[in-house]
């Protein structure tokens, strides 16, 4: 999964555990936003603490608000103190780290702003002795993505990919990558005018999570799973992304997006493709992503007239969360009282390939569910029904659960005989928890992803065709839902596991959602 560094210096060690990010400059567009304060700068700071940030490095915040270097540094200090996964902040390290932070005030479409940026980047590079490696992180409103990339190009801040032997330029893009197929294609069109796919890194922070990366290891380093990983042995798969919280202060954003766009289109499709993919021919970014795309392209399209059989939407009503009464979605701030936006989605999918023919994949994602949990559950086929040890306590099918968060780990449900003369059967769980076996706390998703981008490893980033395939599959559903009135919203109470239609989606086939 390791891309060769652009230049190898003699002191560099060529082992997998010692890969080091290339020296570079990072420009953050939208540096006064939440993401920068809560995720990006704390991640950079923690990389610095781990000794994983290049020694030759500077981050330039690019935003519209009037600030100078000192104010920006102080703001970032407060942000890191509050949001870093390790507290308290190491003031001595910060003294060095703050010198690597700069602020550049400009409008996103101001020619002069980019010209000044070009000059100050060149100056920084001279000072740091850098060869010109540049990482542009777009965490602005998505509508600015095309203009920023165009301006970067016009001001000579991007390199032609064919001339990148000695130095590189990379653009990191935060979700959302479009809001439907057409907008995604348009955005891609505006990027590919100036950028090669190799230069684009689409962040899906789920891929930065340790347990998601472990999916590949679990599947392909344990051959015995692989031999069972098909429609002969697997009955169905459930993927759940449950949130206990409501939409909070993100009303304005949520009214535009909804659950399908915010969670399903990116995160859940990534989980689905990692669980269902064929073994890649080698462990490189392109080989792995080739296989993931094939999964998304094999998804059986949802027919307009059969939507109710495959998809359920919901919106939360009043109820309880963490023991206190909470309001319905339409009473949240900045939400229309008549909103038809979904806060819950359940889907039944089929992957029409040889391996998965006939195996349903059930996906559900919702806000204001009883607890926060993300997991993948693989349900194996049950023993033939005549083969019954005990009519009272029946054997239950084997389930392999991969918990993404919290309590990252893997559990397997098995059946055991209850000791005694009678042949009673009891399901038991073999449970592996990362936290109970490894004492080290894993890095935050953003730390891993930023470091990977600096190293040029795009394995954990979404490729253009993945994004396209995912939108292509979901856009008919989006359109249909937009055009047809929703069922009587709200259709589930806060603090429950979603609308009853979602239960019926599985009950029709004699299955049920896993009790969590």
């Amino acid at each position: 999964m390791l891309a060769p560094p652009s230049t190898v210096y003699p002191l560099q060690e060529n082992s997998a555990s010692t890969k080091m990010p290339d020296p570079c400059l990072l420009v953050i567009f939208g540096a006064t936003g939440d993401l920068t304060a809560k995720r990006l700068v704390p991640a950079l700071y923690n990389l610095a603490r781990e000794g994983l940030l290049p020694a030759h490095f500077a981050a330039v915040g690019f935003a519209r608000r009037p600030k100078d270097d000192d104010i920006f540094r102080q703001d970032m200090h407060d942000a890191v103190a509050q949001h870093s996964r390790v507290k308290p902040i190491d003031e001595e390290l910060w003294k060095s780290f703050r010198e690597q932070l700069f602020y550049h005030r400009s409008e996103f479409d101001d020619e002069g702003g980019y010209e000044r940026l070009r000059e100050s980047l060149a100056q920084l590079e001279r000072r740091l002795g850098l060869k010109g490696n540049r990482m542009y992180y777009l965490s602005t409103q998505p509508s600015y993505f095309p203009v920023v990339v165009r301006k970067l190009h016009e001001h000579g801040l991007l390199y032609d990919v064919r001339e990148e032997a000695e130095r590189w330029s990379r653009v990191v893009i935060e979700k959302p990558f479009g809001h439907d197929l057409q907008s995604a294609l348009d955005l891609q069109q505006s990027l590919s005018q100036y950028l090669d796919e190799k230069q684009v890194f689409r962040i899906d922070h789920y891929l930065g999570k340790e347990t998601v990366q472990n999916l590949l290891v679990l599947r392909f380093a344990n051959p015995f799973f692989e031999s069972l990983w098909n429609n002969r042995h697997i009955d169905h798969v459930q993927i759940t992304v449950a949130e206990e919280q409501g939409i909070g202060t993100r009303g304005r954003f949520w009214e535009e997006a909804g659950m399908l766009r915010d969670i399903v289109q990116n995160h859940m499709m990534q989980l689905l493709s990692l669980v269902a993919m064929e073994p890649p021919i080698r462990l490189t970014a392109s080989a792995i992503r080739d296989e993931k795309v094939k999964v998304l392209e094999s998804l059986r399209p949802i027919q307009k007239d059969a939507i109710q059989e495959y998809a359920v939407r919901g919106q939360y009503g009043e109820g309880f969360s963490a023991g206190s009464r909470v309001c319905r979605y339409t009473e949240e701030p900045n939400v229309s009282p008549t909103s038809t936006v979904e806060t819950y989605v359940a889907l039944k999918l089929y992957i029409d390939n040889w391996r998965w023919a006939g195996v349903p994949f059930y996906l559900r994602a919702g806000k204001r569910l009883p607890k926060r949990t993300t997991e993948i559950a693989i349900f194996f086929r049950e023993a033939p029904s005549f083969f019954c040890f005990s009519p009272l306590a029946k054997a239950q099918g084997n389930v392999l659960v991969i918990r993404i968060q919290p309590d990252e780990g893997i559990a397997l449900r098995l059946n055991c005989k209850v000791p005694g003369l009678a042949n009673a059967v009891q399901p038991v769980k073999m449970d592996f928890r990362y936290g109970s076996f490894f004492g080290a706390t894993p890095p935050e998703a953003y730390e891993r992803l930023i470091a990977d981008c600096m190293m040029g490893d795009s394995t954990l980033f979404a490729r253009e065709d993945e994004v396209r395939a995912s939108w292509k599959f979901l856009t008919p559903l989006l359109t249909e839902w937009a055009n047809s009135p929703p069922p009587s919203f709200p259709n589930y109470a806060s603090g429950t596991w979603g609308p009853q239609e979602a239960d019926r989606l599985l009950a029709r086939e004699g299955r049920s959602w896993r009790l969590m």
Binding site: P10, P23, E50, S436
Partner: protein, 600 residues
């Protein structure tokens, strides 16, 4: 282990990632290993099996204690088995005590606190089960020969050999790699001509030397940057290693300083300077993981920065290197360089100092006092190296006096010291006063204080004369020791001095010891001083390959000239040297003045 040390038998679910079998041969290192276990179990819970040679228990006794160890701040507990073995059982049998306690199916890592290439039945018994053999080179006396053996073993071993010192340098290797990762910086590295390394010298029981990390780091850089070793020299207490790169000379200086907030051997600072006048200074901050980096060029200074030396979590990088890193080609290359280092010096040219000889004696005059001490130390090291090379062992008998004291001091700092495998050197004494070892008059005590205690000698190879009580019985015992340990009772080297009265060893004029036959060591009553001494007889003295007699200072000029001119056969020192076993008198110009003036 501080106040929050693990308390047995409390909560925490049991976890285990591998079996870790640790050996503690030297009880002084136990607390060091305990700290390591604590650090490991914080990150990677494992079944710890700790084998320790017991001093108190009877030689056949075995004590086994198995318990669960948990820690209030840790989510998991681990199981630990302590096995205390008497000396008799610390052989190949100890495997039999370990096998029942292994967690099946999980890998076994062996942590060995001595030379992992040693030909020991115990080690052979464990190696087939172990997938990693983790060893600590702080206990290795001589790196060069060790690196050669390790390379040979590594090429055929099925297990991975992991060097703790190498793993400890992970942080520094990363830091240097990062600092020099731009074209300009890399260019400066290419034209480097000076590197100065300072290590923390804070002697403790667990780590025998403080310069090991410095030696490792510079050897790693040398292999990465293509430097060829060309020599060593000494500037005061500073050891300088010389390299050549494309005709350019590179000097690597190593010296010691003290920071008592950091452990012994920690790298305190690195200073690079290049021919183009650039300099890079790395200073380890006290009580911190940070290294302050100052970079300057002839025309400018950069703002100093602080870089972290290791990962955020204490010891994580180090432990990952110990348990997960495969043997790297960098390490192999590094061993290759160590095995060739320092470069073989030219044959030792003692003949040039020859001033006088007869059929049983030679006089060598290397120069003034200082030059003579230098010569004596270097010759001793060269002889030791040669003896080990030819016979696998070097036996030396030392004497007391102020001249040997100077020589011993020089031994510890001489660059040639690195070439000697001190674990194969055995030390004896040719005479001793009737005082306990900590008495200021003790010859043994003097030698240790003068620096021999700093050499990586094995304690069981240092044979002190116990002259403080029952001196005659002890003399017989010492004879037995010689017979048991010195092949053919022939020493490789015996060092002697000469007194103003012509005595040598503790063979004073007219004393009984001069005439006793059939004995190697005896208790000699010294009429002149009215005291007993334990001393070698001439019979023992002439059982040696090299007999060196040091005579320094103008006070000795008269007696030396009388000895070598055979003017007074009653002087015991006149009897030194036989035809088959020549005596080499090594004198400075002042001591030899009477002989030199008449000659010229």
């Amino acid at each position: 282990m501080s106040t929050d040390s693990p308390s047995p038998e409390t909560g925490g679910s049991l976890a285990c990632l591998f079996n870790l079998v640790l050996f503690c041969h030297d009880s002084k290192r136990a607390s060091y290993l305990e700290e390591l276990i604590d650090m490991i179990s914080d990150k990677f819970p494992c079944r710890v099996i700790f084998l320790q040679a017991s001093l108190s228990s009877h030689s056949h006794e075995v004590n086994i204690l198995s318990r669960k160890v948990s820690h209030p701040k840790r989510p998991f507990a681990y199981e630990r088995v302590d096995i205390e073995l008497g000396a008799e059982n610390l052989s190949a049998h100890s495997l039999l005590f370990v096998l029942p306690y292994l967690v099946p199916d999980l890998p076994l890592y062996l942590m060995w606190d001595q030379d992992p290439t040693e030909d020991l039945p115990l080690l052979h018994a464990f190696k087939p089960y172990a997938s990693r053999v983790i060893f600590d080179s702080t206990t290795i006396p001589s790196l060069g020969p060790f690196a050669t053996r390790l390379l040979a073993e590594g090429s055929e071993a099925s297990h991975c050999l992991v060097d703790i010192t190498w793993a400890r340098l992970k942080g520094w290797r990363n830091l240097l790699q990062q600092t020099f990762a731009t074209p300009d910086r890399h260019h400066q590295l290419e034209c480097l001509n000076h590197l100065d390394i300072v290590t923390n010298s804070l002697p403790d029981d667990a780590t025998r030397r403080h310069d090991l990390q410095a030696l490792y780091l510079q050897a790693w850089m040398a292999t990465r940057l293509g430097w060829t070793p060309s020599g060593t020299q000494r500037e005061g207490s500073r050891l300088v290693l010389l390299y050549d790169r494309g005709g350019q000379r590179i000097e690597v200086g190593m010296s010691a300083s003290t920071d008592d907030t950091l452990p012994n051997g920690t790298l305190l600072s690195l200073n690079f300077s290049s021919r183009e006048g650039h300099s890079f200074a790395f200073k380890r901050q006290s009580q911190s993981r940070l290294v302050r980096v100052e970079v300057s060029a002839p025309d400018r200074c950069e703002m100093p920065t602080a870089l972290p030396l290791s990962s955020l979590e204490k010891g994580l990088q180090f432990l990952q290197e110990l348990f997960y890193e495969p043997s790297s080609t960098h390490y192999q290359e590094f061993l290759g360089l160590l095995s060739r280092f320092p470069p073989t010096p030219p044959p030792f040219p003692w003949q040039q100092f020859r001033r006088f000889r007869d059929e049983r004696r030679e006089l060598l005059v290397p120069g003034n006092r200082e030059e003579t001490v230098e010569f004596a130390a270097e010759w001793l090291l060269a002889l030791a190296e040669e003896a080990i090379e030819k016979r696998g062992l070097c036996t030396i008998a030392l004497s007391g006096g102020s001249t040997p004291e100077r020589i011993f001091e020089r031994l510890t700092t001489h660059p040639r010291t690195f070439r000697v495998d001190w674990s194969r050197v055995m030390l004896f004494w040719s005479d001793e006063r009737a005082v306990p070892p900590d008495h200021p008059d003790s010859n043994y005590g003097m030698a240790m204080r003068a620096g021999l205690s700093e050499l990586p000698l094995l304690p069981q190879h240092v044979f002190r004369m116990e002259a403080e009580h029952s001196i005659e019985r002890q003399a017989l015992r010492y004879e037995e020791l010689i017979q048991a340990n010195v092949p053919d009772q022939t020493f490789d080297l015996i060092l002697l001095g000469v007194g103003d009265d012509g005595h040598t060893a503790s063979l004073f004029p007219h004393s009984k010891g001069l005439t006793v036959e059939g004995r190697l060591v005896l208790a000699n009553y010294i009429e002149q001083k009215q005291t007993w001494r334990m001393t070698f007889t001439f019979e023992a003295i002439h059982r040696c390959r090299h007999l060196c007699v040091y005579v320094l200072g103008k006070d000795k000029a008269w007696v030396l000239s009388r000895i070598l001119r055979n003017e007074d056969p009653s002087l015991p020192a006149c009897r030194l040297g036989t035809k088959p076993h020549k005596a080499f008198f090594i004198a400075d110009r002042q001591a030899a003045q009477l002989l030199l003036t008449t000659e010229s």
